[in-house]
Amino acid sequence: DGMNILFIVVDDLRPVLGCYGDKLVKSPNIDQLASRSVVFSNAYAQQALCAPSRVSFLTGRRPDTTRLYDFYSYWRVHAGNYSTMPQYFKENGYVTLSVGKVFHPGVSSNHSDDYPYSWSIPPFHPSTEKYENDKTCRGKDGKLYANLVCPVDVTEMPKGTLPDIQSTAEAIRLLNVMKDKKQKFFLAVGYHKPHIPLRYPQEFLKLYPLENIPLAPDPWVPEKLPSVAYNPWTDIRRRDDVEALNVSFPYGPLPEEFQRQIRQSYYAAVSYLDVQVGLLLSALDNVGLSNNTMVVFTADHGWSLGEHGEWAKYSNFDVATRVPLMFYVPGMTTPSASQGMRVFPYLDPFSHNVNSVPQGQSKKVVELVSLFPTLAELAGLQVPPACPEPSLHVGLCTEGTSLVRYFSASEGKEGCGG
């Protein structure tokens, strides 16, 4: 009778995770989820920009069909009345819930995160979201700035908290509500970090001493990179600390010391995110839902950490389009745990040192546009048909393909001499 779905999407997270082989990062809780999941090591977004990527994977259609390449149109008005993944689950008897950043806010989701089409109740947004780009970062002079690199004392933040901390609390509250209701649910939780500003509890800096942070392996602009392919990372240039560096446009570079600080803070923000994911998954255990809830963990796109002289996303480079993608399906990716046994015990990144190995890995090259048909198949729903070409007039179809066939497929290059 179909499982619950916990859909976790992270803003601007590239696969700097232990379960993806990164030796520097401390991400024990996401690694633990990976150890019980099938993990796709070659998953790519269809466009490395928040709104276009999210509308693409949530509708199962490519940007050329949603016709959203920026932030300023709503697909149902501008392109076609395409069904979304949560809408489809809702129409199939699920209670659908959105917490944090799942759709990109604003015009591109009709200023409502596509409510009521996609969600059963109005989406939750943390009250401190509105301070995200305010001057909340304390500079060396003690004044407050809107910096890029922004480790903070959480008690000093507006309302003494941060948006993702509030989102985790709300998601846990909803899990408790749904446990009692005994109704199938699709809960989407969207985390804001490590999207800029890199604002995270300052104690996470201790995990990454600056002297341990290397520059990108290729921090120079490649000689034969066409100028049209380069992205000049204008968003981070506008942050107070970067602006003060007076870096030349368009190619910079940033001072090496500052490059290390950005990379350090990105990693620190990933560990901060790992704690939030750990608390959320531990709560799934607490309410006894780990055995009948699938968990999907992914990101809207990646982020350049100085490779090719680039920062941010805004390009077709792998560092900007490759994303984490893993599926935990009880009874399929792991044997079902016996009643009461914890599947996701919380692990403290400050003390946990063992990197767990993913349960199953697929090297297949896959796309986020395939999320919709994959989750439909995993939930036992009718998989939406493949879209005809063109499909602007078709409300329900998908331009992706279900990935379930790769969950147990033997690896290797089929079709090319094995």
């Binding site: 466009q47 490649p222 990179l225 049209v228 992205n231 000049p232 941010a312 792998d318």
Partner: protein, 98 residues
């Protein structure tokens, strides 16, 4: 070979640009300002990208009007630092394929 390329699953991505050289709205051009679209096709072995003329009024991409190309061989260049689109027959082959 092209056959191998086609039988491998591939991931497509795209990114718009307002112009051929970096400018202040290069990262996030509004639809009306898009003039070029970079279409990428990647497999385990390659990432191939062509930046082509794009008409924002009718959402059409003109693959006859290629502004620039990129081709990276993942086995020898995993960080995608060495664009071989123009300087080997590979580039010529992929142009022919498209």
């Amino acid at each position: 070979t092209a056959r191998c390329f086609y039988e491998e699953p591939a991931a497509l991505s795209q990114y718009p640009r307002p112009a051929d050289t970096p400018q202040w709205n290069s990262d996030k051009p509004k639809l009306k300002d898009i003039r070029i679209m970079g279409y990428s096709m990647r497999t385990i072995d390659y990432r191939y990208t062509v930046w082509v003329q794009f008409n924002p009024k009718n959402f059409t991409a003109n693959f006859e009007d290629v502004h620039a190309g990129e081709l990276y061989v993942m086995e020898t260049d995993p960080n995608q630092d060495y664009n071989i689109y123009n300087n080997t027959s590979h580039g010529w082959l992929f142009k022919k394929v498209l």
